[in-house]
Amino acid sequence: MHLPEMQFNVLRAVANAGTSELTELARALAADQSPVAAACLALQDAGYLSVRESEFDEFRLGPDAEPFAAAPLPERVIVGVLKAAGGRCRITDIPSHCPLNAGQVGQSLRLLAQRGWARKEADTLVLLDGFSEAAQPDEALIRALAGGRVARREQLAAQGVDVAAAAELLKPRKGFLVVKGRTDRRAELTDAGRALLAAGVSARRSVTQLTPDLLADGGWRQVELQPYDVTLAARTLYPGKEHAFQRTLEKVRRVFLEMGFTEIVSPWVESSFWDFDALFQPQDHPARDMQDTFYVARPARTQLPDDQLVERIRRTHEDGGDTGSTGWRYRWSREMAHKPVLRTHTTAATIRALAAHARPTAARPLAPSAPSPGKYFVIGPVYRRETVDYKHLPVFHQVDGIVVDPHASLATLLGTLAAFYGKMGFPKVRFRPSFFPYTEPSAEVFLYLEHRQEWVEMGGSGIFRPEVTLPLGIRDRVLAWGLGLERLAMMIHNLKSIGDLYFATMPWLREAPLSRA
């Protein structure tokens, strides 16, 4: 039979000494108390030792009592003065006859009365018959504990100190006596322990770290791998992480890829032509005001697409061209279309994709009048001239998508968006009729937030107007939507302010759980 080294040593020591107190045991084994206690506990669990615990009080003098180990208490001094003065003395005169000051004398009056040694009569202190020269229990205790001695109740009692009376007397004096409740642990061999020793037992080394050496030479077979408290907390670790908003953007991206969409892009600096004109936004539309849109000073001017397309857009704005529309009936300015802006929506990307879709390519050699179906999406920053607050920044992200399809309808628009948000984890979606300049019909999209019990608006959608699609050469209907992503991310990641995304703190970067996207 093997035991871990410490347990073996403890067992043997207890066997040799009979009943052993644990601190003494540790001293005898020249070991720290905690491994000895742990070994005792393990031996007790195994049934080889029994550990009996008993509570006891431990007494020692407080800092204020130490001076009186050698000198008499103030009451004793005052009694001396009274005796010398014939049994009575004016209280104010006492300090002139002894080393005590007026304060100390004053503090002693109650104690003197308590002991029955002296009584205050007006301004005079009178010695009483109850006075005793014999050392009182508190004086005896102070003397017994002099020099920093620590003693138990029974040790003091053996010296003749009435501990209970002394403690009662010292109670009004703060800082005189320190009493600590302690536990006495005594280990005793059980029958099983005695049987084990009789049967023969040897020690085995206990190790914490399983080292390469122990593995290399098989030494692990001879040692005890010390068990740990596996419930203890460990230090905090954080993996390197993608930003929480990035994870949401990635999820949006993955969902559209899963749904068969092709990812597209368009420049941040965009011509007014693609940002507004191609979307049938009249040139005097308020959205084009300097108030709402960032215009760009450098570069000062953008190129425009081929003249035929520009001409078709001009005519559509002015009188509807060939689209069957009345148009806006104003004079369209080519110069305004050249003006660069920071794109105000990612619809600039989808409208460019739509124009490209209409052009036959090697991969899609169809006539422009009947291009094949297509699905496109774009995720990226857009820019609006917004004042910064907790839900607005001058830049935010959108996902825009389009579906070019002969089956495109309001019903399939709602179905596509419901499928997207369902995959994003929002099964409840609602649509409200709305009005946007370049879609008809139009719908606003709302998500139901279970934890807030409310509907939240996420963005706009609709079917591109013929004034948008026909000049590009697209004859099918085109579903389109532009949805804000910061608001979605703030809902997913429980953020109060949009700034939390862009001015992130380390604790949030480290702690935002990866499982949440």
């Binding site: 390197g240 993608e242 990035q246 420049p267 600096v269 215009y295 409200r432 009005f435 019909p441 380390m506």
Partner: protein, 620 residues
């Protein structure tokens, strides 16, 4: 978008017309189905100023401090403010495309149709013209360009506080929605009895800035100093100053007078005091001037049709507008005719609809529809109300039909067509880049793509990059350019995190933007990757190791060349080269930069063009 208070009592009274069709509890849901954005249902208190302006205030807003119309300060003159009592209102977000439904009359007309109380095209009788307005050819010329006008006469007018408020609100809303704050259209309403309504034609003409004088609205006619020239009005009158920019580039100003020369108004700035409408007014003259006949006609039609709904006793009389090119009679309520293909409409909405069903939907939206020949009719002939400003194409009728059908009654479904999705390559590369950095224990940050020359260059002692895209009309001094480097944003993130545990390892993968004459729009984005490390023991070797790992994982070869770069400690910076070109740099930040950022530990950084690194890797 402005928010308007729609008085619910009046609205429901007009909709219900003695029957019980809808009550207040159903208003919110109905408006939602109609596509009207309801901010809230609220209780407001109405107050009247002695100038007859009525001010609506919600509970939260409390009593008004001054009159927005005459400017009277009620704290000094409490006697001029009179409470009129409470109103239940629907607070609505005003939609620019439907100015015809943002007055109680127009909204009641829409709601009545929508709920099926009275469907089809509403017709308003118009009496033949007795009055004419002569339009001076000058108005069509560049020196005084406001060529178009539409007018009407209103008889049997009975006004009270509520109706005056309604008239004012309708005017204001139209100025916003159609008029672009009076630029494209502005409306005037005048007391016709103060004018010569039986004499020679009124005149819409252009005058020199000092040609004449009149007393503008809000000034006392008794005060001889109140008679102002048009120039005085633009420089001295409150409203004149506020709208002076609309006439700034002209040398002659539009003026409307009666046949005797009494001034009605100086459009689009101000009316004359003499023609002011009061509760005693029994006959009105109305004008809308603007830059296009279509706009002024629509504004007039919306105003008149809305008023007629609220004041059924009102008699509308036409006015002859005599342009140099010929005569026009306004208002013209002739509906526009549009043909709608039944199948296209059904397919666009995504439901099965035959001609009678579609016709019924359109009638509920206030359109007139010729009775279709039968369920098999392939098209409908639709008469579109003359107050609708948003119907430009049959597709607009389809939207109306869809709203009447009910979006919530549609079954959402997917298009059945199969398509193959495809990611963009640079996004896939970026995913790999982020995976490398997170694997190395870095945390990603996302910083704003807009910055300023101060934050991007000056702060770090780096020269301005002439390739930075510059915003012409920034909204704040902190966002004046597009970023050309990710590093300033990443270092700023270290700065806002200096109280947290070190070391901190951050990275960003994102676009920078550069003006580039070769690009179609004059600028282009490029995908960059940047990393920064801060800590007690961080140094050049650490960031060099990161750069090595990054290049290795991207399957690219990086070459390091010693370089002297502003912002870096001399001798501790290197430029990065791949595929024969410089693609980035790395090194230890100069203590001056650390001081500028308020950082107290060494920082090592790395930035490179991911696009160029990928290109070089492919080339390998």
């Amino acid at each position: 978008m402005p928010i308007i208070n729609m008085p619910l009592d009046l609205l429901l009274r007009l909709v219900n017309a003695g029957r019980k069709v809808i009550d207040e509890s159903q208003v919110a849901k109905t408006l939602d189905h109609m596509g009207v954005e309801l901010e809230e249902l609220a209780t407001t208190r109405a107050f009247a100023c002695t100038c007859e302006n009525v001010i609506d205030r919600t509970e939260a807003q409390g009593e008004p401090l001054n009159c927005p119309k005459c400017g009277c300060d009620f704290r000094e003159r409490p006697d001029r403010l009179r409470p009129l009592g409470q109103n239940h209102v629907a607070r609505l977000n005003l939609l620019a495309v439907r100015p015809d439904i943002f007055d109680p009359g127009g909204m009641a007309r829409y709601m009545r149709g929508f709920l099926g109380v009275r469907t089809g095209l509403v017709e308003y009788p118009v009496a033949p013209p007795k009055l004419a307005v002569q339009v001076d050819p000058c108005l069509g010329r560049d020196e005084s360009y406001r060529p178009n006008i539409a007018c009407a006469v209103l008889r049997n007018v009975h006004l009270d506080n509520e109706r005056i408020k309604l008239l004012m609100n309708l005017q204001e809303d139209l100025h916003w929605a159609l008029g672009r704050d009076r630029k494209l259209a502005s409306i005037g309403v005048y007391d016709l009895e103060r004018l010569n309504g039986r004499g020679p034609a009124f005149r819409y003409r252009a005058v020199e800035p000092e040609e004449l004088r009149f007393v503008p609205l809000g000034f006392s006619p008794a005060d001889p100093a109140a008679s102002l020239t048009p120039r005085d009005i633009l420089t001295r009158h409150k409203t004149g100053v506020a709208y002076a920019h609309l006439l700034a580039k002209f040398s002659a100003y539009p003026l409307l007078t009666d046949g005797d020369g009494t001034v009605l108004s100086m459009p689009p700035i101000i009316n004359s005091e003499a023609t002011r409408v009061t509760m005693k007014t029994r006959q009105c003259f109305v004008d809308v001037t603007g830059l296009a006949q279509r706009t002024v006609d629509r504004a007039l039609n919306i105003l008149l049709s809305g008023l007629k709904e609220v004041m059924p006793e009102l008699e509308i009389e036409a006015v002859n507008i005599d342009y140099p090119s010929g005569r026009l009679v306004t208002p013209d309520f002739t509906p526009a005719r549009m043909s709608l293909d039944v199948q296209t409409a059904a397919d666009t909405i995504g439901v099965a609809l035959d001609a009678p069903a579609l016709a019924a939907l359109l009638e509920r939206m206030g359109h007139g529809v010729e009775p279709p020949a039968g369920p098999r009719a392939t098209s409908l002939s639709v008469r579109v109300p003359a107050w609708r400003n948003d119907v430009m194409h049959p597709v607009d009728l389809i939207e109306d039909a869809a709203i009447a059908f009910g979006y919530d009654k549609l079954t959402p479904r997917l298009v059945p067509t199969f398509t193959v999705g495809a990611p963009r390559a640079i996004e896939e590369h970026s995913t790999v880049a982020r995976r490398i950095f997170t694997g190395l224990g870095f945390h990603q940050v996302m910083t704003l793509p807009l910055t300023s020359e101060l934050a991007a260059f000056d702060k770090w002692g780096v020269p301005h990059d002439p390739r930075a895209v510059q915003i012409e009309n920034p909204i704040s001094s902190e966002q004046t350019i597009c970023r050309v480097s990710l590093l300033p944003g990443v270092i700023e993130t270290l700065a806002i995190n200096k109280q947290y545990d070190l070391p901190q390892y951050l990275f960003e993968v994102g676009d920078c933007c550069f003006a580039d004459p070769a690009a179609e729009t004059g600028a282009r984005e490029e995908r960059y990757a940047a990393a920064a490390m801060i800590g007690t023991h961080v140094g050049f070797a650490d960031i060099r190791a990161v750069a090595d790992a990054f290049a290795r994982e991207m399957n690219a070869t990086l070459e390091f060349r010693p370089v002297s770069l502003p912002g870096f400690i001399p001798g501790r910076a290197a430029s990065l080269h791949a595929g024969g070109e410089q693609i980035g740099s790395l090194g230890e930040l100069h203590p001056e930069c650390l001081e500028a950022a308020g950082l107290r530990h060494a920082v090592a950084v790395l930035e490179l063009s991911l696009e160029r690194l990928v290109a070089a890797a492919v080339a390998d």
